[in-house]
Amino acid sequence: MFIGVAVIAAVGMLISAKVTYLKLLNSLALVLLTLSGGWTIRQTLLQGSYGYGSGILYWDALSALLLSVIIIIAVYVILFSLGYMEKEVHEKKLPRTSLKWYYFWIWIFIATMLLVVSTPNLGVLWVGIEGTTLATTLLVGFYRNKKAVEAAWKYVILCTVGISFALLGTMLLFAAAAPHLGQSLTALDWRMLPKIASQLDPNLFRLGVLFTVVGYGTKVGFAPMHSWLPDAHSQAPSPVSALLSAVLLNCALYAILRWYTIARLTELGPDFIGKILIGFGLLSLALMVGFILMQKDVKRLLAYSSVEHMGILALGFGLGTQEAVWGASLHLLLHALTKANLFVIIGSLVQKTGTRQIPRIRGIFKVWPFTGIVMVLGLLGITGTPPFGTFRSELSILSGLYKTDHPILGFLTILFLTLIFAGFLFHFLQMFYGKPSGRYQAGESVSTLALAIPLLVVLFLGLFIPQSLNQALNQVVKVILGGV
């Protein structure tokens, strides 16, 4: 239903480019989206799982988690971009007519993501993921200048290739499952697959899983397939970047997780896929240290940190211990909130200063104190500093590393995280203080602080985790570790 909402909204956007019209339509769509989505999530969490239309759409706790992330971030980002895109048009960066296309693609994008988390069929899921790629390509290249085109090109080429690997993997899975579930859609249904996982032909499945992890991994942005990510994130309009790294990456990860739950039950055993994920996770972490330490472009900085956090998530899920998975699921949520917030605030900062180069941004605290405060919160949140929630989640993931007797890896991971923290702190301090260049027009409304709401949630979750959320997370853990 909310997919419908999204699609209709998208088409509706094309009708007219009047500001008021767009505003109205957007907010209407958001309200509907929130209501229907919220209701679904509630049903899902109450019943443990929830189907719609004879199971064409189907949600369990895991999908509910992703669903909530998508909706929250969508609301936050679109509300922000209403003002943001206005400014862009005002500053003649974009023609007014392009606004409707902007919203059209955004909503298509959201629709595809909703499809991804709502379908119980791995094939359809693949279609959805590919759909997200196509929907976002033009958004990435939205400014149509050289760099934008370059970014879009790299994005679409790399992701398409990656995705086609995933398709091959899916086919292999189909071949493996067909003998048991028949030559039909059910052969790709992740409700059925875990039941017969143990009978799947290991060779076919192994090949399939490998192709899929690499394929979707490209989309998630595991190193070394991450190379499209910073370009796309830095060139896209900031709200889009927020959506990309706060939601899209998670959706791709979700696809991998579906496979993960099945793979754990096959003859290959949980370790096989777990090791792959851990490998990718650590590699991503280690490489990102370098990129983050020496970064000059603030949006790329955030993009790389997204890669890093995807690495952390992969690590957490790959470990497969109760606590680690719990932490990872929590971290997925928290990272989405924090990163969206950071992209939004940095986006407005870039808009104000007109540059993305860290060395050229100075003295934020003097000129825009509120922006500064939000950025400080964001900095602490993204680097997992207590008392922020990210600290809790990362700690659980790390303890998972120790539980599975990798003290050395654990130590290294903490070290990487610290170095990344050092990098972030260094860049942000540079931007906070020093004497601002005269060009900036000072002054901002207190309402800037409102942008920090997600971070305050993260902060709160760091100090106290309500029972309900905890139960939900435990359900997620059960889904991931225990199959159905």
Binding site: L158, S227, G290, F291, L380, P386, F391, I414
Partner: protein, 644 residues
């Protein structure tokens, strides 16, 4: 108008802080009298959904350090009440200061009270964070920002070790609670135990400022506003030492002998390096910061002696070492925060931290000078004030340790530690004579100093109160000893009464010494009263006396610099302008510089290596899509081949 408002806010908040401290002291006094310790916590969730407690606990050990913290809080807040006035006049918003001030104090309480690894890490990190923001408060100066950055990064790297150790113990014992760790520690293999110990040592040692993890300390303590420096130097450093007792002494239990040796040697090294670098400093606050490193070193020696005595089960020496440790902790907290406050007064009066520009301040700010004089008497470990008696007991402990050893080279090394302590004492006299003499005595060396005036009333009151307390602690040793009993009763098993009896003598000696000295001085003064006095010019071979003729701060300790040139890596550069002939000297430029040995040989290469690595990594992303596709292809093939 706004100014008035902020003034009232300042007074309100700071006096609130003081009142809280007072209330805390009263509460602490009552609790430790009744001796029923609190142990409670907050409910929160873990991955298993099982309930765990964000738990805290108060026992004698905690209580002692709580007293330290509360005293520090009270005095520094009282001082800040006056100190912050300057910022108000500069129209600099004080809110960042207030917020972080309270949060910093709160997190320190948290660390002291924490009873499980998780809450320990949480509060510990917060402590670093908020102190970082406080150091960053005067962020207009680029140098200060750099100092703050170094500080936070170093503490974080230290925290890496702490986190690793905590998680390791957690996974081994299946719980975060300290008790469980304590009971689980014996089950660890020796190697694991040693590794955990080393992790704790590095992690906590960095915060405490042990050499070679000390380089952040002088930067941070001198960059921070003076009330903050006095709090960091007086209290935060002690919190780290507290954790040594909590996590190593009580939790990991009696380890192998080399733990003690490590403490002893690192302590000796820190004491020596710290005071040596202090003696050649000419920055008012950096000097004090380095002397903090020295005192931490002395405390480290005390810890080492205690650990050694414990593993040689020589109870008497252990008791002495512990008493010395706590006594010195108390004294250093009082005196160092006092000195930082006086330094703050000087800085506010003259707006310079450079000793070479000060001089003759005693006449301009007499009350500050009085406090400072008492401060240096105490900090240089000279009788009659507290610093000395702590070292006396430490000497005794080392001596007893040596005497009761059956054999081994330890019998030579331990007395050498005494020698080091004596050397450190001598150096500290030189250091603080320089600090006090150059800034307060003689003639003003620059115009800024001539305009200096006495500081605000509370800024003078707070230090003098501390002086009173310092004197009292010596004058009434049995009370101090009663305070020391709190932690001792936790740390050691056998009866505490014995110590009280045994230590009664020397500590009563302390009071009698003080009394006698004052008595004698008074008598002498009275006897030498008669005779008339006349104020004249200083004799200068008949030539007129200019301020530049005084010994400079650099010159005063130059012999030390020359003697320890190797250690300090000090080098001098003299260039004279001889007008034509070899005999008439027009002008002479002298320039002496000191290398930060540890920064140059330990940290710089590390950073350089890291940056090099990072640049190498960044080459991966150099823009060609062909390359990226290549990565993809290679990854697929590699994964496929590994996977099969």
């Amino acid at each position: 108008m706004a100014n008035k408002e902020s003034q009232s806010v300042r007074q309100l908040l700071m006096s609130l802080c003081i009142v809280l401290a007072g209330a805390g002291l009263v509460w602490g006094f009552v609790t430790s009298r009744s001796g029923d310790w609190v142990q409670t916590g907050l409910k929160f969730f873990t991955g298993e959904g099982a309930e765990r407690w964000l738990s805290w606990k108060v026992d004698g050990l905690t209580m002692f350090f709580l007293f330290i913290l509360l005293l520090g809080q009270g005095f520094s807040s009282l001082y800040a009440l006056g100190y912050l006035k300057e910022y108000e006049e500069k129209k600099k918003s004080l809110w960042p200061f207030y917020v972080n001030w309270f949060l910093f104090l709160g997190s320190m309480f948290g660390v002291l009270l924490a009873d499980d690894g998780f809450s320990f890490l949480l509060t510990w990190e917060m402590m670093s964070l908020f102190s970082f923001f406080l150091v960053l408060y005067e962020n207009e100066d680029h140098q200060n920002r750099r100092s703050a950055y170094i500080y936070l990064v170093m503490t974080h790297v230290a925290t890496v070790f702490l986190t690793a150790a905590t998680l390791f113990l957690y996974t081994k014992t299946g719980s975060f609670a300290f008790e469980v760790w304590a009971s689980g520690a014996p089950t660890l293999t020796t190697i694991q135990l040693n590794l955990v110990f080393l992790a704790f040592f590095i992690g906590l040692g960095t915060k405490a400022g042990f050499v070679p993890f000390h380089i952040w300390l002088p930067h941070a303590h001198s960059a921070a506003p003076s009330p903050v420096s006095s709090l960091m130097s007086g209290v935060m450093v002690k919190v780290a030492l507290y954790l040594f007792l909590r996590l190593v002494w009580l939790t990991l239990g009696p380890g192998p002998v080399w733990w003690g040796w490590l403490f002893l040697l690192v302590g000796a090294l820190s004491a020596f390096v710290g005071i040596l670098s202090a003696s050649v400093q000419s920055d008012l606050k950096k000097l004090l910061a380095f002397s903090t490193i020295e005192n931490v070193g002395i405390l480290g020696i005390a810890l080492g002696s205690a650990f050694l005595a414990r593993s040689w089960n020589n109870d008497w020496a252990m008791d002495l070492a512990l008493v010395a440790f706590f006594w010195h902790t108390l004294q250093h907290m009082l005196l160092k925060s006092l000195l930082f406050m006086e330094a703050g007064n000087i800085i506010q009066a003259t707006h310079t931290r450079n000793l070479e520009r000060l001089g003759g301040l005693l006449k301009r700010m007499p009350k500050t000078a009085l406090g400072a004089l008492i401060g240096i008497l105490g900090i240089t470990a000279l009788p009659p004030l507290g610093g000395f008696w702590g070292e006396l007991i430490l000497f005794q402990s080392l001596w007893t340790n040596t005497l009761n050893l059956t054999n081994g080279w330890s019998k030579v090394v331990l007395p050498l530690a005494i020698g080091v302590l004596a050397l450190v004492g001598g150096l500290s006299i030189a250091t603080f004579v320089k600090w006090f003499g150059v800034s307060f005595l003689g003639q003003a060396r620059s115009s800024v100093t001539e305009r200096a005036t006495e500081a605000h009333f509370v800024q003078v009151l707070a230090p003098l109160l501390i002086c009173g307390l310092a004197v009292l602690s010596v004058l009434w040793p049995s009370a101090t000893l009663a305070l020391l009993n709190l932690p001792l009763s936790v740390l050691r098993t056998s009866d505490v009464e014995r110590i009280r009896l045994a230590l009664g003598t020397p500590l009563n000696l302390s009071s009698s010494y003080l009394v006698l000295l004052i008595f004698l001085t008074v008598i002498v003064v009275l006897l030498s009263k008669r005779g008339l006095r006349r104020v004249t010019a200083t004799w200068n071979c008949g030539a007129p006396l200019t301020p530049s003729m005084q010994y400079t701060a650099g010159g005063l300790t130059n012999p030390i610099r020359v003697l320890f040139a190797k250690v300090l890596g000090s080098r001098r550069h003299v260039e004279g302008d001889f007008g034509g002939t070899r005999y008439s000297l027009r002008s002479l430029r002298y320039e002496g510089r000191i290398k930060e040995v540890f920064e140059d040989f330990l940290y710089r290469p590390l950073i350089r290596g890291l940056v090099w690595l990072a640049t190498q990594i960044r080459k991966l992303q150099e823009g060609s899509i062909h390359l990226y596709l290549g990565y993809l292809l290679i990854t697929v093939i590699v994964v496929l081949i590994i996977g099969r």
